[in-house]
């Protein structure tokens, strides 16, 4: 066995963000190699660098094609700086994280186009469509149908339908078949099981195993640990653009660095430099024991189901938030957490179930009605207007309010309350760091006078010190009487400040309990790392 693909010190940064920061990997021929890491770790960037969609800014990517019968061993080929189509021509097939089928073409046409690099130009032959000359076309058509069959699609039933009309899972299969049509030496699957239910995920696992048994080398990127751990022979873990572990599934899932990357680290380890944080910890531990369900529910969600077209993202979730609580929804990427929040704020509509906020039915109320009733959301990714100044961003937050004078006074108060913003009030918001932008987004949310504030991934993409500052702000707002529903990937930090928490997995609530109890619960780690 030798390395089919060898990455040495590959680098790529965007502005100041090191998306891929010196990654070295070796993918052996005939293996299934897993690439995992928390959201924003640089996995997709790395794949895009390997496949030529993003230029590498250093390091080398060597592809050593396996010798074919009758040929001597071909030398290694450097992939860096080649255009994507040339890399595909060298035998690297890929699928995309978000489906990229030729939507208006049929499944068979999609696969036929995948054969592009193997097909001689037939422009002149096509000009004389005589039966004997068309035999090649027939052969290709048969092969396309076989490829569809090999990924588990029925070519008679699905082959002639426009790709966009197929079910989500079937579209994923067509994409794999299209990549296979290249006869790739290496197949890169970027989150092939994203948005699938457990049964569909099992079928994806079977498919990957079956392809691998046919001799195909596979590079698999996925968030579903059960899938990755179950199918991969070797796994590399990325975090902040660096490789933090590399080895067998068992050794990787026990690696303390991996556990920290996924679950976040305890504040006691990282926050010692934040003034006042010890005080906060004391306050957290001296909290009275809270019961598992709130006495008077401010928010009451029952059997909520939400779907994006054919994909069910939330499958029957029930929970409540009591007045004055901090409740956290935690779980791995793609579990459905943000979908729940977006449904509560009226951006999405539930498929079934109910959600009540006081007397307001969130399933039918208009988003502006919901905000006026006192439920404000700070969205994931913060949605700061980068070219406007900090103050202008705040003023936009008060746009809908009639009492302009009072709103301006409140903005001034908030500026004082959050000196990070006050000192930068005339700066374009785009120049703030990620954490500062997050605080701006939270402050903007407060202008709506929320009784319940929904925070979606406030620590996403932030450096550890900044995470502490943001959580400090959340705690302070809470102390002032705002009820908070928090969605977080950084589970340990979220559990630290939360009164109660729910662990969400593939659209369902897996566990619930007080923050302190869940922190000690080994099942939480399992939900993230697949145990």
């Amino acid at each position: 066995m030798s390395a089919l693909l060898q990455l040495t010190d590959v680098r790529r940064h965007f502005g100041g963000v090191h998306a891929v920061d010196g990654v070295s990997l070796e993918i052996e021929e005939g293996t299934i190699f897993g690439l995992i890491g928390p959201n924003g770790a640089g996995k997709t960037t790395l794949v895009n660098v390997v496949t030529g969609y993003i230029r590498s800014q250093g390091g080398s990517i060597l592809l050593t094609p396996p010798p074919r019968a009758g040929e001597g061993r071909v030398g290694a080929v450097e992939l860096a700086r080649r255009p994507p189509h040339a890399i595909a021509g060298l035998g690297i097939g890929r699928t995309f994280q978000t489906l990229r089928l030729y939507r208006n073409l049929t499944a068979i046409e999609n696969v036929l186009i995948g054969m592009h690099t193997r097909r001689r130009d037939d422009t002149l032959r096509q000009m004389l469509p005589l039966r004997p000359l068309m035999r090649l076309d027939d052969r290709r058509l048969t092969e396309a149908r076989e490829l569809l069959q090999s990924v588990g699609l029925n070519p008679d039933r699905h082959g002639d339908r426009p790709a966009a009309t197929l079910s989500y899972g079937d579209q994923r299969r067509v994409e794999v078949a299209r990549a296979l049509a290249l006869k790739p030496k290496l197949l890169i699957l970027d989150e092939p099981a994203a948005g699938m239910n457990p049964a569909e995920k099992d079928r994806v696992r079977d498919l990957i195993q079956q392809l691998n048994e046919g001799g195909l080398t596979v590079l698999l990127i996925d968030h579903d640990m059960r899938l990755v751990m179950g199918v991969c022979k070797r796994i590399a873990v990325l975090n902040f653009g660096r490789k933090i572990a590399d080895g067998s599934p068992a050794s990787v899932s026990d690696d303390p660095a991996v556990v920290t990357a996924y679950l976040g680290s305890d504040a006691s380890k990282t926050s010692s430099h934040v003034p006042g944080s010890e005080e906060m910890d004391l306050a957290a531990t001296s909290k009275p024991a809270v019961s598992a369900e709130p006495a008077s529910a401010l928010l009451d969600v029952r059997d909520l189901e939400v779907a994006y077209g054919a994909i069910k993202a939330v499958r029957g979730v029930s929970f409540g938030v009591g007045k004055g609580e901090i409740v956290a929804l935690i779980g791995a990427n793609g579990a459905g957490k943000s979908t729940i929040l977006n449904t509560l704020s009226g951006v999405l509509r539930p498929h079934a179930g109910s959600a009540r906020f006081g007397d307001l039915d969130l399933a039918t109320a208009a988003p502006d009605q919901i905000v006026r009733a006192g439920l404000a959301q700070v969205p994931e990714g913060r949605e700061i207007l980068a070219r406007l100044t900090v103050r202008e961003n705040m003023e936009l937050g008060a746009w809908a309010r009639r009492d302009r004078g009072a709103a301006h006074r409140e903005i001034d108060d908030l500026m004082k309350q959050f000196p990070i913003l006050g000192q930068r009030h005339n700066l374009p918001a785009g120049q703030l760091s990620g954490g500062e932008q997050q605080i701006l987004a939270i402050a903007r949310g407060l202008l709506a006078h929320p009784r319940l504030l929904l925070l979606d991934e406030p620590s996403l993409g932030l450096a550890p010190q900044m995470v502490d500052t943001v959580f400090d702000v959340i705690q302070r707002i809470h102390n002032e009487g705002v009820t908070i529903l928090l969605v977080e990937q950084n589970a340990l930090r979220a559990l630290e400040i939360a009164d109660r928490a729910y662990v969400v997995e593939t659209g369902r609530i897996l566990l619930s309990g007080t923050g302190a109890a869940l922190r000690r619960n080994p099942e939480v780690q399992k939900a993230y790392l697949g145990g």
Partner: protein, 306 residues
Amino acid sequence: MDFFIQLLTNPVGFYNQHELLIAQIGINAILAIAIFVTFYSGQLTLANAGFMAIGAYTTVIMSLYLPTPLPLNMLVGALLAGLVSVLVGLPVLRLRGVFLAIATIGFVEALRLGVILNVPITGEGQGLHNPMADPLGGIVPILISLPILAYLVWRLTKSRLGQAWSAIREDELAASSNGINVPLYKMIAFIISAVLAGYAGALETHINFFVDPTEYGIGRTIQILTFAVVGGTTNVFGPIVGAVFLTALPEIVRQFAAYRDVVNGVILILVIIFRPQGIVGRGGLAIIRPRWWTRWRARERPAAAH
């Protein structure tokens, strides 16, 4: 109505009476094929009026100054348009969508205002008198060329090249993951389109006594675009149907001749609203059925069952 009655009862008389119209339909249909090629590869280029001008002027200038036969002059005109398209395409084809459209319109206007109106050999603003004009003889090559070109382009869309164009039109990123050299195939489409437009321009000089620079401006560009929009671009016959329909329309509704542009505009709007895929859809010629019609039918059917 007379128009159709004559077409059905007395086709020979119809042909004799409407020869110039038929020739114009043929030229517009070739132009429609030209814009179809770029549409099929997912590019909104509006440079065809410019390539037409190159084909037309080259043909007439060669006829004026060289003893070469007319077919050769036309061929050179078409090929020169293709050559220029490479130079234009290199910088411009990096753009997409509406930006590409604006850049190509820029090319058309720069060619007309910057080159044609300022170079003495083109007759500047005066235009050129065409010594080889032969309105009645000119119709023959047009009517022979049209079916041949339509057939060739139709087969082209079925070839490896055509499938690569489909892929690029649907999703450029995915196309390159399938090993398709996106810039190269876009360029090929652009060149083929330019050669076809140049050829149409050359053919047109054959039936006109005069080459007039005002013919090759934005108005022409938009006219060619409407052929594609009204006819549809899922296959090569769509734009041809669009060209035939829109060119013949002023003759059909003679009584509205004064409101020709209004009628064109209304038809364009109706097509965009009720049949955005054009008159010819994926499944061939289609009857235009607005959405409320199918809904209304669906409601009627269960009622009728009782």
